[in-house]
């Protein structure tokens, strides 16, 4: 097997192997995605992935972890995320309980301290987990644009030194440097410094061919004509000025929904009834409903003859 070979000889990735690895795991790529993944593995650099919501940014990390037969450690960013949630924390309750239990024993203060600041009282958060993992993990730092700038600069430090200092224990160096993937929805611009540490990849909405391949792969039960029409319709939909454009995730949901209704082609009533799967904003829904016939026509789904 290709993948088992990869584990033993870490250095020997090759572009073709990466491509087939990704597609084996069911991820449809294009050249720039596989090149980015390949080079980030080879050069040991973090990969920063930007793009609109729902185009499969997070999926890359999951697929990579699977393909490399390693674990995925995920750090979900949010506003107010700070180092104790990202790095480590002492288990205070346990420390206090432990001290209570050994209150009357003859241990010296030094010994007691040594125990309560030991490994079992340390709660590892994702970043610490990642650098002390027994094998090289994939570390996914999801939606980094949601965290605040303080955290971003803190992250820079970790990403360049690969060591974490805990005052009570000392400095912990990374056993294996994790493979890092950062994702961002571009709700705010990331700092130049962070960009410079990473390789950059932008994933856009897929074109028709790519989307159709993805649908075929993920919803194998779907009727060929229906699937094609769904993808065409989505492509047209994304040309509109909507508040929130639907991503691949929505396409797949919709394809699954329609195929479980055992439809074999798209028609106006079906679209109207299931529009909620695709559009998640009432203004968008209203706008699309009003121009539905036109939309279907431009998508080539619904010829005028059907209407008669």
């Amino acid at each position: 097997m290709i993948s088992t070979d990869l584990n033993s000889t870490n250095e020997n990735y090759n572009l073709e192997v990466i491509r087939s690895m990704l597609s084996e795991q069911g991820y449809i790529t294009d050249a720039s995605v596989s090149m980015s993944v390949f080079l980030s593995l080879q050069l040991n650099k973090p990969l920063l992935i930007e793009g609109p919501a729902g185009v499969g940014k997070t999926e890359i990390a999951k697929v990579m972890a699977k393909a490399l037969h390693t674990d995925l450690i995920r750090l979900q960013c949010y506003e107010g995320l700070d180092s104790t949630h990202a790095l480590y924390e002492w288990n205070y309750q346990r420390q206090l309980l432990h001290l209570k239990m050994v209150e009357h024993s003859m241990q010296s203060v030094y010994e007691k301290e040594k125990i309560i600041f030991g490994d079992e009282f340390l709660m590892k958060r994702p970043l610490l987990q990642a650098i002390t993992h027994h094998q090289k993990p994939v570390l996914l730092i999801d939606e980094i644009d949601r965290s605040d700038e303080e955290f971003e600069s803190f992250l820079l430090e970790v990403l360049s030194d690969w060591q974490i200092t805990i005052p009570e224990i000392g400095t912990i160096k990374a056993i294996h440097i994790p493979q890092v993937i950062l994702t961002s929805n571009r709700t705010r611009e990331l700092s130049e410094a962070l960009r410079r540490r990473c390789l950059y990849l932008y994933i856009d909405y897929p074109d028709f061919a790519k989307e159709w391949t993805i649908v075929k792969n993920k919803v194998p039960a779907i009727d060929a004509k229906l699937g094609e029409q769904i993808c065409r319709f989505m492509q047209t939909l994304r040309q509109m000025k909507l508040e929130k454009l639907p991503g691949i995730a929505e396409t797949l949901d919709w394809a699954m929904a329609l195929s479980s209704l055992h439809l074999n082609h798209l028609d106006k009533t079906a679209v109207e009834q299931t529009l909620g799967v695709v559009l998640k904003d009432w203004r968008d829904t209203r706008q699309v409903q009003m121009s539905l016939s036109e939309l279907l026509e431009t998508a080539g789904v619904h010829s005028k003859i059907d209407n008669l």
Binding site: E50, G80, S83
Partner: protein, 373 residues
């Protein structure tokens, strides 16, 4: 890393320099990474070669979009320059026989045909003068410069906002005092533990910007300011008003300012119209007041106070806004003039309910905002 200077690696380095002249942020680090990357890919295939360089060098979407064009430009030009037998009428400097000339031509072309020292001093001095310059008098070629300054400034403002309420970097710290108190009933045995958390920054900002005809000269810059501010500080809601009120927060949440401007133009029919501050503020209070205003909200009103609307409505709304908000800041571009007095009826009425009244006509005055927030 690579030490041997092959012509390939020399070219890649030169290509990186070329990109730098086109405003790419390509440092030595990227050059090294690019060379390292080329070890792993098939360089004879131009597509692969290009893709590898693009992956390593580009650091933003803008750079990604420009890369292919520059790549072609460079490598095509290079092949012309290297092969001196190729005679092109368009570039007489490349004529065989004058090797130096062709080298110099290539060099100056690579450097983007410009002299750096001059440009740098020029930009420095312009920044100096810009911060004092009234927005209304900024010539169009200095707008870029100003926009950059505004961006940097709003970043600092936002950082200031967050830092103030950050009490400690650590979360979930046990609160010893509370813990002891709580456990008194257990005879001092520590069973329940109380925690304390740093106070999260809950400060919200609501911006109401006048975009009527009289504010025309300032609106673009104020918009840019609001845009930049929205990018770095999330708890902010922005409205524009002239004769009616418009909620523009979603429009400001675009990746770049030009997109924002385009979509703004599509929706705003009331731009550069008359002003009815009272009606607009009243609409704000009625539709959004309950939801947006609380004691942690700072309301910033950007307007010159020239008003043709109803005064009693203005008074009523201002009263409500001040009562339910934390602070009301009225920024008036006209207040920068020394002889300005808030003499209009609207301004005089509003003054009673304003906590801070300040000028906003140049960068310096925007910078002063830090003081009030």
């Amino acid at each position: 890393m690579i030490t041997r200077q092959t012509s390939m690696s020399a070219n890649v380095v030169q290509f990186c320099r070329f990109l730098r002249t086109h405003h790419f942020a390509t440092s030595v680090e990227e050059e090294a990474a690019a060379l390292a990357a080329l070890l792993f890919v098939d360089c004879s295939n131009r597509q692969t070669f290009r893709l590898a360089l693009r992956t390593v060098i580009c650091k933003s979407r803008k750079e990604l979009q420009e890369f292919d064009k520059l790549f072609d430009e460079y490598w095509n030009e290079l092949s012309k320059a290297i092969d001196s037998k190729v005679k092109t009428k368009a570039a007489p400097a490349l004529r065989p026989g004058s090797k130096d000339a062709s080298f110099n031509a290539l060099k100056s072309w690579l450097n983007g045909n410009r002299s750096y020292e001059i440009e740098q001093t020029a930009s420095f001095s312009s920044q100096e003068s810009l911060s004092q310059k009234d927005f209304a008098t900024v010539p169009s070629d200095e707008v870029d410069e100003l926009m950059r300054s505004i961006k940097a400034l709003s970043k600092r403002l936002a950082a200031h906002l967050t830092r103030r309420y950050e009490k400690s970097g650590k979360n979930n710290f046990p609160d010893l005092r509370k813990t002891l108190r709580k456990n008194m009933r257990h005879g001092g045995e520590l069973i329940e533990i109380a925690f304390r958390k740093p106070k999260r920054n809950r400060l919200k900002v609501v911006v109401l910007c006048d975009v009527s005809k009289s504010m025309d000269l300032y609106a673009t810059f104020l918009l840019q300011f609001m845009f930049a501010f929205q990018q770095v500080y999330r708890k902010i809601e922005t409205f524009t008003f002239s004769t009616s009120l418009q909620h523009i927060t979603p429009l400001l949440k675009q990746p770049d300012f030009s997109t924002t401007l385009v979509s703004m133009n599509n929706v705003s029919d009331s731009w550069s119209g008359g002003t009815r501050i009272g009606e607009s503020l009243n609409k704000f209070v009625e539709e959004h007041g309950k939801r947006l205003l609380d004691k942690r909200t700072i309301v910033i009103i950007l307007s010159d106070g020239w008003d043709t609307g109803k005064i009693d409505l203005l008074e009523k709304s201002m009263k409500y806004i001040q009562k339910s908000g934390k602070k009301v800041i009225w920024l008036n571009p006209l207040a920068g003039y020394t002889h300005y007095r808030p003499a209009t009826a609207a301004m005089q009425t509003a003054m009673k309910y304003v906590d801070v009244f300040a000028p906003v006509h140049n960068l310096d005055s925007l910078r002063q905002l830090t003081k009030w927030l």
